[in-house]
């Protein structure tokens, strides 16, 4: 490998590296610096609707105005705190539900015949290729008062009145679990599929019952997959906007919705930026953890 790399002309190698690097720095990292900057400025009615941070008072005096008001506002108004805590709670419960539903599916896929496995894998990945928005929309038709579930239950005479399901927290959980389930199943499956089944045979030979074998061998060995799946569900779910606004109660507090409203309805860009920065600070650690986990995974793959 080294020999191969040694022949790379330094300039060619640098060029190949720099193209994606520069793109991501410019369009992904620098924007966050700008968000941080604008979260410290004051709103004004103009375009763009915020005051500049730096300002030449005279030829030699550069005034820097740091407005901490936006962050103070987030702390004082308990709407924001409530929205943060509620988003974290909803994302946490949804992640747990995804794990409870996704694990048996991934496990069953990994223990199927190799030929069936590929078809099942295709069936799990297919939802990635179908519109997320339309799949969430489908649940409106299923959950609403004269929707699929209520109509079915009423035609069988099981209920007289439709059960209110749309615009409840229940609908939001269904929507999140449904949309993010493949993100849980895929890393779990990748992990469980690699598992050395002779370990379980050995345990069985030594008198271990199947459920003990699962708890003592399969489950601990699959923990990296569990962690990756949970992070892939939890991180985006915290900032989810589409699902709570289509399926949830209009008054439901989710931080993604709050940010959206501040930006589009109140046109308060600085407060929207402060909301984004506060959310980002909370998510940086899980994102870094996920990156490390993925690198460990690919390094392991490379060694094989």
């Amino acid at each position: 490998m080294k020999r191969w790399l040694g022949r790379w002309v330094p300039s060619g190698r640098t060029l190949v590296t720099s193209v994606p690097y520069v793109w991501l720095l410019l369009f992904f990292l620098i924007p966050f610096v700008i968000v941080l900057k604008i979260s410290f400025s004051a709103a004004q009615i103009a375009m763009p609707p915020y005051e500049p941070l730096f300002h030449w008072a005279s030829a030699q005096v550069l005034q820097i105005q740091l407005n901490l008001g936006n962050f103070a506002f987030l702390v004082e108004d308990n709407l924001y705190i409530k929205a943060y805590l509620n988003s974290i709670f909803v994302a946490g419960v949804s992640t747990l539900l995804c794990l409870l539903i996704g694990y048996p599916i991934a496990y069953s896929m990994a223990r199927s015949n190799p030929s069936t496995r590929n078809i099942l894998l295709l069936l799990v990945t297919l939802p990635f290729f179908t519109s997320f928005l339309l799949r969430v929309y489908a649940w409106i038709g299923i959950l609403k008062n004269n929707g699929l579930i209520n109509n079915t239950l009423m035609s069988f005479g099981l209920i007289d009145q439709p059960i209110q399901m749309l615009q409840t927290d229940f609908a939001v959980y269904v929507g999140i679990v449904y949309s993010y389930l493949p993100f849980m199943i895929l890393p779990l499956y990748a992990n469980l599929e690699k598992m050395d089944l002779t370990l379980l045979e050995a345990a069985a030979d030594l008198g271990c019952k199947p459920w003990q074998g699962f708890l003592k061998i399969t489950l601990p060995l699959s923990l990296p997959g569990v962690v990756a799946g949970c992070l892939l569900v939890f991180i985006p779910a915290v900032g989810e906007f589409v699902i709570p606004s289509l399926l949830g109660d209009p008054g439901m507090l989710m931080i993604g919705k709050v940010l959206w409203t501040e930006f589009f309805n109140n046109r308060d860009w600085p407060v929207a930026s402060a909301v984004a920065i506060a959310l980002l600070l909370f998510l940086v650690i899980p994102i870094m953890y996920l990156d490390r986990a993925q690198n460990a995974e690919s390094a392991e793959g490379a060694r094989k």
Partner: protein
């Protein structure tokens, strides 16, 4: 050994896939409903498909979305392939950790944050250098590339990690320059991965609502934006018809791509193995001499 109880496996797979597919199936079935009350069956009809064809707003939004998705998926594959190469083949270098972090983060970053930050970047750039002037297709394309190239990078990186690099080394030993090795050996082998990366980038771009809403200008509504504003008011039968068309196209595309890819993959792997075997024979015969 097939351990575990078959009934458990069958039940969990059946329930799991029912949960994943019943909502999509219900969308399709109700798209053929005559009644305007989407979920109350009023007989079979294809009238909503006809109405869709006369809805100018949806058609022009769909056209814009298709253009954006084609351009951004293509550029995302180019950038993502470079990124995947760098991460999988260039070994450790200064700044690698940051690059890998910048590839992982867009995958999970809540879209409201990415959308807001990109918009603020475009506004700032316009103030500083006057480009991009206003917001519209250009800003949407740039944002979609940034989002989808991360997915392509991950796909290419994991494909390269699985790939046996002895063919590349052999070509190098025979004196091929790195660029030639890449285009003649690496690229053909990872081509199926690039195809699925392109498809994924295309559908993600076609589907994105949140980031697009932030960076789109007043005159540039994409298909998801039009759908969202309609759907917010409740279910509407022509959206079911639209969903059915999109799902059908995607299902056909993915199935065809899946089959051709597995077939090509098998052929390529066989070729690669034969090449290696021939190489080994040659080395052995040289040794004998």
């Amino acid at each position: 050994m097939m351990q575990g109880r078959p009934w458990f496996r069958m039940t969990s797979l059946f329930l799991g896939f029912a949960f994943l597919y019943i909502p999509v199936a219900s969308l399709i079935i109700y798209s053929f409903n005559k009644s305007k009350l989407v979920t109350v069956w009023g007989g079979f009809s294809t009238r909503w498909y006809g109405e869709l064809l006369h809805n100018g707003q949806i058609l022009s939004a769909a056209w814009l979305s298709l253009k954006v998705a084609t351009i951004s998926a293509t550029l995302a594959v180019v950038l993502g392939t470079l990124g995947g190469m760098v991460l999988a083949r260039f070994g450790p270098f200064r700044g690698r950790t940051l690059l890998s972090g910048l590839t992982t983060a867009p995958l999970v970053m809540p879209e409201v944050i990415t959308g807001l930050s990109l918009l603020l970047l475009f506004v700032t750039m316009e103030q500083l250098i006057g480009w991009p002037a206003g917001r519209g297709m250009t800003t949407i394309v740039i944002s979609h590339i940034t989002l989808t190239m991360a997915y392509v990078t991950v796909i290419v990186q994991s494909r390269l990690a699985q790939m046996d690099d002895s063919l590349e080394e052999a070509a190098m030993d025979l004196g091929a320059r790195p660029a030639k090795v890449f285009f003649l050996i690496t690229l053909p082998i990872i081509f199926p991965a690039l195809m699925s990366g392109w498809l994924l980038a295309f559908t993600l771009s076609l589907d994105d609502l949140v980031i697009t809403s932030f960076v789109a200008g007043p005159g540039s509504s994409t298909l998801p934006m039009v759908i969202f504003s309609k759907v917010r008011l409740g279910v509407s039968p022509d959206i079911n018809a639209l969903a059915t068309i999109l799902v059908t196209i995607v299902a056909i595309g993915v199935t065809i791509a899946g089959f051709t890819m597995t077939r090509q993959q098998k052929i390529k792997e066989r070729d690669a193995q034969m090449a290696l075997a021939a190489n080994q024979q040659m080395i052995d015969s040289l040794k004998k001499d």
